[in-house]
Every structure is written in structure tokens, then in C-alpha cells.
Symmetry: C2
Subunit: 811 residues, 2 copies
Amino acid sequence: MRNNQFAIKPTNYETQLVELHDVRFLNDTNDNLNDPLSLWISFLKLSFLSAKSDSVFSQKLQNIMATSEQNLQTYINNQKVVSVTAFYNVALQLLGFQPELDFQLNDTLTAMNKIQLKIADHSTDSFNLDELKSAWYWLLATHNKEGQTFIDQLAANGYFVSFYDDETVKKPLLFNGKTLPVFDPHKLIREVVYVESPQDTDNDGKLDLLKAEILRPAETESGLKVPILYTASPYNQGTNDETGEKLMHNVNVPLKVKVADDNEYKDIEYHAETKNLPSARKISGETDKADETFSREQSYTLNDYFLARGFAVVYAAGIGTKDSDGVRTTGDPEETTSTISIIEWLAGSRVAFTNKIDNIQINAWWSNKSVAMTGRSYLGTLATAAATTGVTGLKTVISEAAISSWYDYYRDGGLVIAPGGFPGEDADVLAEETFSRRLQAGDFNRIKDTWEQKLTDITKGQDRDTGDYNTFWDARNYRKNIKNIKADLLLVHGLNDWNVKPRNVEKLWQGVQNLNVSKKIILHQGQHIYINAFRSIDYTDIVNLWLTHELLGVDNDAENILPNVIVQDNVKTESWHSYSNWSSIKNPTMNYYLNKNTLSSEKTPAIEKISFSDKLPDLSFNNYCQNIDKWQNDLLSDQKSPIQNNRVIFKTEKLNNEALLDGVAKLNLRVSSSANVGLLSFQLVDYGTSKRFNISPSILKAKGLAETYDWREDDLREFELNTKSTDSKMITKGHINLQNRENNFHAESLSPNEFYDISVELQPTFYKLQAGHQLGLVVYATDFGMTVRGNQDINYTIDMNYSSLIVPIHK
Amino acid sequence: MRNNQFAIKPTNYETQLVELHDVRFLNDTNDNLNDPLSLWISFLKLSFLSAKSDSVFSQKLQNIMATSEQNLQTYINNQKVVSVTAFYNVALQLLGFQPELDFQLNDTLTAMNKIQLKIADHSTDSFNLDELKSAWYWLLATHNKEGQTFIDQLAANGYFVSFYDDETVKKPLLFNGKTLPVFDPHKLIREVVYVESPQDTDNDGKLDLLKAEILRPAETESGLKVPILYTASPYNQGTNDETGEKLMHNVNVPLKVKVADDNEYKDIEYHAETKNLPSARKISGETDKADETFSREQSYTLNDYFLARGFAVVYAAGIGTKDSDGVRTTGDPEETTSTISIIEWLAGSRVAFTNKIDNIQINAWWSNKSVAMTGRSYLGTLATAAATTGVTGLKTVISEAAISSWYDYYRDGGLVIAPGGFPGEDADVLAEETFSRRLQAGDFNRIKDTWEQKLTDITKGQDRDTGDYNTFWDARNYRKNIKNIKADLLLVHGLNDWNVKPRNVEKLWQGVQNLNVSKKIILHQGQHIYINAFRSIDYTDIVNLWLTHELLGVDNDAENILPNVIVQDNVKTESWHSYSNWSSIKNPTMNYYLNKNTLSSEKTPAIEKISFSDKLPDLSFNNYCQNIDKWQNDLLSDQKSPIQNNRVIFKTEKLNNEALLDGVAKLNLRVSSSANVGLLSFQLVDYGTSKRFNISPSILKAKGLAETYDWREDDLREFELNTKSTDSKMITKGHINLQNRENNFHAESLSPNEFYDISVELQPTFYKLQAGHQLGLVVYATDFGMTVRGNQDINYTIDMNYSSLIVPIHK
């Protein structure tokens, strides 16, 4: 176990004392103690929540070793001081570390350093009274063996239960810049409202009402105004898995020839239509009480954590979902309007009703008008979309694995490119999947025809025939509005996310560099996953520090404490590094020239051309369609395989020194296709035998992480090294339609066997290539996981003399 | 979705009315209604817990279709009657089924029948008042689309929250023979006691104190006596995964020659030693209040379900675990004594203390002295062990995937045979793994030397050199004491459990057939898993019906309602069948003769012998050691593989009719080994291409099943067919050491190349072999997953003329 805590707030001693009083580790009784040993005992007594008698307390002390010879009871009976070693021997055991296994009792501080746990200042081998208080303060802020601060561990054991109904407790209660779980999660108020949004997407002559589910602390009833975590999740009210599945497109179709055009951007640019809107509902009354509630919301564990910490949580699924009006649009401006309507209501500038019938208005009177959006994937996407409107009240978005332009989700380089793992999915499939109005037969019966028409429009608009960037996709490009962003950004993305590919976050990151907002990014080694409940990084603490600053307006220096960029190491487990930037345009590059299956930094005359076919025998083709992992393995492998002549591999020499690839690698190629149509795919590969991270994190302990006492639990996770070595790993990839040599919205004709120069940007990366490994480039055509698979009889030729690879290196 | 409910209790109309009043669906207001429509509306209103106004209620009604034309609000406005069709259209939607997808609105009853949902009696097309009440009663007892009764669905939505603090509510409250969740799970009282057991297993001169964690309803404080679910789990206080792993034995060692002996059973029979025991602690006081508590117990979801239903739950980990005294023994009589000590305290016949220091006695004054044991694997094993003592107070055990003799867990046929998936594990490894006293350094420091000696003794006693059944294993054979069983038995086992193999449950089942206790068995298609939260079977309801009878003494006819044997179909998903017995000795058999790779029912002269080698080239051997799945695939496959000459396969003709294998298949073989040592392994195989069940159930919905409102949740699961066909599946297997031809405790010498007759019983099964498939027998030696793997140069020969396979068939 190696601990990485980024959210520890440097705190001066005076503040430490105040906070120790606030959390009641210091009180009238022990504040006057004069010897460190007695004070330590009083701290321990408060921590051993299960012991309700001195005997049980003593029993517990006897089970902890203070030194390699003495248990804690014996130590206390025989010593007069609190030695630094004994303190941390005990601390480590309180944190769940085990002598002999995790540390040696006579070499404690070495272990503390190795595990990366904070050691408090001490002027001698023993703590004096002030030092001990400070040491206890820092211990409370330190992570235990299961990735939780000691104070959160105590909370999970019930430490703050007595704070729930105690009116003398400050609420929210802060410790080390972060809020504490002093709100009873079983007393949350749950209510439903219907926000009237300023549009009529189902054209029923009435403004769309949008259902919002609210969970707020009971304390709001007595006047506490609270901040809001708002998760816009189209999945939240249920999904149509079966009807969605039926719409999946066949990808075993040939790549079609595009008619050359003269498109310029202005020809395809999206302009909002001006629609005549129905008038707003006439308000027939006003109330503070909702008349609809709900039981178990479909929750997001990060929100669960904050529900005990004085935040309200709001879930809304948006237009076209169960109990709301409207239709699904998959990411267009109407969906953005739907998304921010909820924020506008929370901030006081939009009307909501208690139900869809009575027109009784209800305000978010309990809101402090500070909203953060949270969520992953589509949820994070809508957070990003909302941010690009600059809507008032949205202070920050925590946007995980989010799409920033839907073209970069379903298309690339003039090609239909599936999100990894979902060949045949497209905007229409997702619209149907999230159209949860279908789940209520009575409602569906009313909207059915409208919906079928809308779905037809989406299918047409997305245009699978060309794969071009058109007006449909331009309407779904949030990056056009980056300049409007006023919310601070905390972005999280997996460097191995081939569902929402890293370009989505990198282009957003680049786009906001000069905006006057705080922005942070965390890049992990996962695919399309959450990183809550990872043991080795204090992600929840980071978010807590961030939101305490953003939504509670606490001056906790979050924007300076948190590094701009945190990247998980891809070689060493449990290692997270800070950087000032990612994919900086100032990064130097390594230029490689292609030559006879090699990549070399020196250009040597390479008169040769190299060709490959894209056609496979039917049997092999079908096998690969069925088994995409197998295809990917064969693609990178030097071993004989059915695909060995359907791709070319170029490799560098073995690297003498480690290299840190940072940003967007670019390929310049001179190529020809034997047909009047063609596509190329590329993978940058790490060649070298080593044990690499598993694709998914392991569950170290199911339900191992409590959000607080007697409340919801998350699975404790961590990336582990696979027990077996592998010879290669894809670093990043890219695709291009040879008819989109200039850009994605303009098709040019392609003459068979004529050479063209193309330039392709691969997906951005941050990758440590170890010394002794080789950087590889694989060039191929059909990508069995992502492109159409026509198994067409096309040959591709690369003129190596005019081809190069440019790789950005971290400075 | 196909529903299988075994725990619906036939209930007469008068009782239905009483229960409808008890659960407050009938009340003073609606009891006097004269028309079915108004009554129906009143039921619906009580069910729509989220609607707190008539408008919201109406909004909900509008979202449900009553007929293919009318939504429920329109229906109610326009109709005078409750048609059976409208009732069940609405019911199906309330249960989560979706029109068009799961059923057709104009063909409702067909769908009800197909899904296997109960339809209430009705004399016409519409329900009269009595019929409607009855229909609502049965609806409450009917499973929804997610495998939960409608009344439990309502409970999950908060229906019973108002019952928690209502003193007019009967507690426990029953419905259809099962208890309801009317106990607030957040008010559970949690306390720790230390039971003084009548032994001193760590020889410290003091009787072992055993920690027990108790959760009991708050209502016990005001006098309610409650039954107890007791789970004895050695894992419960933590495990030593790393130190356990280090003890794993190397299985890549040769099979050793055993010295022939004259052993009879009496020579190895275990006799309990008489030990001088320390005297009991002197009691220095008595109290009703515990002085130790705990926060989050390591819980078992089935227990969580019952915690809201008026049962107390007790967890104890036993001797040698954290906070308890004693040492681990892996299943010997001392562990059984430790296990039942807790029951004896719960039943009032043993002393417990509030802590380990003060000798203050505390009684289980809140106990109704009726105890059930629950748990899977080692936990179920200890339940079985406890049952074989006949201890007073233990009314029933629900024993899942339990060991009934530890020889059948770690050994077989005179061989060391690993539990599937854990080559090298043995009794000593498990002892170390569960020795959680190690987790507390202060305690471990005191017990270390004693523990090391004990571990040495276990390693010696288990005797990996011979694999024989010896005194060590005889002490760990609970079946010797079957005659003592007084508790009723509910046994659950996976027919594909190769960890705790099915012989464990089958021999127990056979052994109790003539005992005067109720016994039921459920056999599922899983490996070593729980079957809580399966969608297609009402397992939780079954257990509820059973425990309501066993522990609350309610005469609910559970013993007759529940079939003796429930078996999950291995061909058709979501199908569970009732039988009167399993593996009956009266089952007829099919006899097959071996001949030139065939199994035939006619004996034809087969003069040929067939031989195979057990030796593999090093590379193949090492590959198989690393990849046991690959080995298993190659073993059964007709394809060319490194192992193709290391086994022989016999197959029947394709079956004309389906065959239901039921019980213990037996092999009679005449064999020789080329060495003076040898082992044989056997697999019975289903050959035939079809889509088979996945090995593990799929998670249909993570956290999808609430134990009740705002309480713990389980993952909703179900076995699904794999999307790909396979050519074969192992049905069952067996092993024998050729030196144990007579029995497992007596070794005979083996002369090289001499033929011997052996008889081997394979593990019991219940397997449907489809028409068109072939039954296969694979004979081989080294079992890469289970036996030692010496890669010895031994040839085995079978004399087919004297060999046969006897397969029991379900009558």
C-alpha cells in the first residue's frame, strides 16, 4: 500500500486547536491536561467507540503493540512520555496496518515514509503537549490502509452520530478544509418537483416540465441553506435496453464512396432555429411543501458521501425521460437547455411546480444557490454542456469521462467510429435507450407517434453514410461555446478510455487554458470508470476540498493546494504524480521516420513502399468479428496470424531511457488506396515484455468503504498488476477516411492507386514508456472494434520516404 | 422472466381478510365500500407511496394503461367495474412488467401464465368485492419482475415505516405465513458479549472466551423476545490472506508410494481425549447491559433481510479468532464445541461476560431460545457440525455449500484433492487464514508460540504424504454423528460446486433420510455461491416461511408447502423443479460397457486394452499448470492438443431421448499402472453442441434488491445462457489412488503392470442430458486442478472387457 493524499490542507497550530475542539477531541476536560501521556489516553478513549467501559478500553489497549516489547496498556502503565515511535506504532495499527506484515515495530518512521503517511513535527523523540495535539490533528487527516482518512474511519464507526441532533454543533462542520458527516442520512427529505423549462421539445403546445428528485438535509427545514450537487443523468429514470439494442446498426457493411463536395464550415454550421414557444403556465398558487416524494433514488456514490456532509443532491434525467415531458435528442442544445433549467430553478430564476396538474409553484427556498454538477460519461457530458452556457449558479462541474463534442464520440476523421465495445451504436440508439417515457405505458401511449418521428430525424441527421462532421454534429459540439464557461472545472478521464476517447477531455482542457476559471484535471489508468473508492488516491477528499471551496465559499485554498494535473503512473501501481500541465503545446517532440518496419530518428533514404491488403478470408473475418480481443492481440503481435499481412508494424530500437509521452502524437503519411474509397487506422504501441496493469481495477473489498456510519457503502478498488507478463500494449490510436484529407466536413475524391499526403492526430495520451521497450506504430485499415467492417478487397500502400511520426514528450 | 414461487401459502379468505387488515390495506374507511372500483382505487392509493396529493395520484394513474386503449385514470372515470383484465394489466405494471415488451395489454392472462404469476379466482370477467380483496391479497404475495413479492416491493418503498413506532402493530407481523419488515433497522441494538466455552484450546489455564456480536431489534428493550439467526463465521473478524498464502503447499510433487498396511477402521478411529479443564471463572456480578458495541458487522445479506423482520442476528467467529481465546483447528470437535457454546448461551445454559476482565455475567434475556444457523461454505459447515451435536435451542440449520466431512473437502480416494481453484490449500492453510488473533499485534504477541506449535500439529495430522483417511480426518467427519441431529434441515448446494463438492451434501442428505426431522434440499446450477437475490426463485421467501415456522413456532405448514427437493434445471433458464427425493437408492441405473472409445449398453466382446501415459513435455506441463481452464478444455476436446494421448474418452451414441441423471454414478474398472504407484481421475461429460449456462450468475442489477426501505441492498442475479455454444461440459468427476482399492484408510501395495479391479463412486449429480447429446467418460491421471502434479512417467492401462459405468437415472 502506497498512499497519495493531495487534499491535505496545511493548517497552522491555532486553527488545529480550534478544529480539534470543533470535532470534540479537545474538550473542557482534556484541554487542561498537563502531560502528553494522559492527553494521548483521552484521545484514544474517544477513538475507541466500541468500548463503553474502562475494562473494554483496557482490553483494546492490550491488543495493540506500542513497542516491539510492550502492548499499549503496559506502555501506558510504565511510561511517562509519548514517544514518537510508540505514537506512530499505535497510529499505524489504528489505521489498519499490521506489524510484521506492513511495518516493523522498531522501524516505524521508515514505514510511515514508505507508505507516504504524514509524520507530525517533533523536537525530541517524544511529543510535548502541543506537538501531540498537532500529531493527533494530522493523524485524523491521514489516510488509513483502506483509503479513508482516520476521521472518516471514526465517522464510519459512529463518531459523529451524537452530533446529528446537537444544536450546539456548527453545521456544516469543517476539518482540515473539508466538510464532515454531521448530517443524519436517514433524515434526508426527499421531494419531487417539476421544473418548467423554456422549450417545448415534444411540440405538445406546452412548455416541457422536467422532473427533479431532491434530497436535502433535515436541517434545511430549520433554515439552513445548503449547496447542491446536481447530477443530470438520462439513465436515472430507467433505460430501454431491449428496444435500444434492436436499433443497433449493422457494422458489417462496406465503406461508401462519398461524393466530393466544396463544403466550408459555414455551409454546415449549426444555427439555432427560432421557435415560437407556448406561453408559460399560469401559476395558480405557491407552496413550500412538495406533494410528491420518492424512495430509493438511482444514486451515484460520490453524491452519497456528500449527503451526510450537508449537501443537497438533485437528480434529473431531462427531456424525454420518465415523468418528464419532451423527447430525447442526444446532446443537442435542447438537451442543454433542459439540463440547465434545473440549475436556474435552484438559483431562483425559473419556476417549478409540485405536480403536472395543479400549477402550484414551489421554490428551492432551501438552496444557497451554489450548484456543482457531478457524474460520469453522459452525466459528465451534460455537466460540460451546462458549463458552456455560463449559467448563473453553476459554480463548478466535476466532469468524469465526459464527451465535449459528440462527433468525437460517434465519429472520427470522416468515419463512423463506434465507442469501444459498442460497434453499431449511434446517437439514435442512445436516444431510444434513454427515452424512458416508454417505461410508463400510459405516457408512452400519448407520445408514441411524436417519438417515432423524432427518432427518424436523429437517424437521418447523424448520417452514417458519410461519417462527416455536419450540422447535426456541429449542434452537438460543446467546445464551440467554451468561451462562455464561468464554472470552475475538475475534469477526470481515463487514459485508456476508448468509449469516451481522451480527445474529448484534452480539447476541452486546451480550450479553457486561457479562461479565467480554476481548472484541474485527473488522468487515471482506467477505461470508462469512476475513481471513487480507489485506495491509493484521496479522490473523495479532493472533491470535498474543492466543493467546500466552490459551494460553501470557504477560503480553504483548494485552488492552490490541488495540483493542476494529477496523472496515475502506468508502470508503478499506487503512484499518482503532479504536473503543471498536460499536452502542453510547448512540449518538445521526437520525430520518427518510417523505414522497413522501423521507426528511426534519423532519416535515411527509404525508396521502398510498403503495402497491405484489408481483405480477409471469410472464416478469419467472421472469427475476428466475434472476438475483438483476439483481433487486437493478433494485430499487435509478431506471431503468425490470419491478419499478419493486413497491417504493417514499425518499431523503434529499444529505448535507452524511459520516455514520457505527453499529448497528441501526429502522423504524416503519403498513402494510396487501390480503390476510390479507403480508410486507415493507426495504433501507437508499447512493445516490451512486462507485467502491466489489469484493464479494470480489482475490488479489494466489496462494500469496503462506508460513506459514513450506517449509510451506503462503496467497493474499495485499486489497479493491480496482472500476474502474467504481456509483450505489448496499445498506447493510443487514430482513424481517417482518405476522402477527408483536409477536414471532417469536406469530402474530396480519391483516385485509385494515386498517392496523397495525409496528416492524422492520434488520441492524446500521457504514457511512460520504459527503458528497454520499443515504441511501435501499427498501420491498418478495418478496426474491428470501431470502424465499419466491409471486408473490402482494397490494398493500401505507404510511401515511407514521405512519412513520419511526431511524438510529444513531457518536458 | 419466468417466476418460480414455492413459498406461497394457501390461505383461506377469512385469514386473507385478517391479514389485509393487519397490513392496513383494509381499514375502517375502505372496509365498508360497496363497489369494487372504489375499493381498488383505495388499494392503489395506499400503494402509490410517493403520491402525497390527489393530483400526483392522478398523474400516476395516467401513466398506467388499464386496457390497450385507456389509461387507468380514464378507465376509472368511465368504468363501473374492475375487469380481471384491467386489474392484471395494472398489476403487471405495478410489478414492473412493461406492455409490448413483457406482455400484451389485450392478452394479459396468457402473460400471467407464461411468467407463472398467480391469478386470483373470479366468477365472471370482473371481480366482485370479495374476489377483489382476495386478488389484492394474492397480488401482495406475488413476485415482481425483480424477484421480490409486491408487499416487499412496497416495503422497500417505505410502506412499513409508519409501523415502526406504532405500538398498535402486532410484532412480529405476518403475511401469508411470512414475517414482515416492521422493525426499524436503524434502531438495532448492537452489543458484544464473551461466552465462556467449556474448553481451553490454547492451554492458557483459562476457559476460552468467545466473542459474539449481537444485533437485536429495539423492541426487545420493551420485552419482546426474539428468535436468533446465528452465523458462525471464522472469516468474520478478518483473515490472514498473506500469511495463509505463504503456507500453500507445492502441488508439483510426485505421488508417493505408500507402505501397505493392515489398517481397519478401529485403528484410525478418533476418540475424544479427556482433558483436565480449568475451572469456570468466578462470577463477580450480573448485568443486563453490555459494555461493548460495534459498528459495521461483516454481514450476510440473508441475515440483513431478517434484521428488519424481527429476528436478532448473532455473529461469532469462534476459537482462535480476533477478540476470542483459543486456537484454530479447522473443523475438529473443539471447533464444534466453540460453535455451539454460543447457542447454549442463547438458550440459557451457558455463561457469558460483558468483557474479558471483569467477570460480570450477562444473559441473553431478550432471546426466545429458538436459534437457526445460517451461512455458506465454512459457515454452513459449522451449522452442520452444530446440528450433529443435537444441541438444545438449535431448531434448524440453513446450511449452504457446507462440508459434512473434511476428508471430502481436502482429500478423496486416498489422494490429496484440492478444493477446485485452490491447489495446495489444506487444513493448515485454512487454520492460518482464519487465525485472526494475528490481526491484533498485542494479542498475537501473547499467543504466537502456542499458535506455531498448533499449526505444526495440524500440518502433521493432515498428512499430505499419504492422502489417507486417518484419525485427523475421522475427528473432522460430522457424518459420524448424524444420528444426533435434532434440528430441521434446509440444505442448499451447487451442482457445479467443485470447491465443496456435492458428495458433502449428498451423504448428509442420505444420512438423515430416516431421522425424525424435517429436511429440504435446494440444488442449483451454481458453483460455490449464495442464491439469495436470484430473480427466478423465491429463496428469501422460502427461508422466511421456514424460519417463521421453525423459530416463531407459527403453524404455517412450511414443512408441507415446501417440496422436499428443488432442483434448478441445467438446460432451461429460470426453471426450478420439485422432486420428492434426490439420489434415491431406488433409482434405476443405466449400465454402460467400455469398448474402443465407446460406451454401449450392450456388452460386446472387447478383447482390447487401452493405455495412456501421464507424462507431458515440460513446456506443455508448465502451460497447463498455469492455465487450468485450458487444460480442462483440452481434456474434454476431440481436437488435437498436447494432452490428447494422456487420456481416453468413451462416448455413448447420441441419445434418442432426454436422460435425467440423478445420484451417484459408479465406475468398475480393471486397470494397471506401469509403476508401483498410481492414481486415476474420471470425468463424466455431456457431449453435444448447445448454449449452456454461464459458470457464474449475471448481475442483472447491482444493489437491485432492497432488504427493506433505506436499508441494505443485494445484487439482483440470475443464471443466463452464454451467448456462445460449447461442445461439452463436465457433469461430475472422481479420483482414486490405486493403492486405496479397498477404502481410504487402508493402503495396499501396487505391482507394476499388474491388473487390479477398482470401483469408484463419482461425485453425485442431478443432470439433464438432452436428446441428441452423448454421455462421455474421460479417464486420465493427473488432475491439474486438484491432484498433485508430479508429471511422472507412468502408463496406465484399462482392460475394457472388465470395465463398466453405472449411471443412476431419475425415476
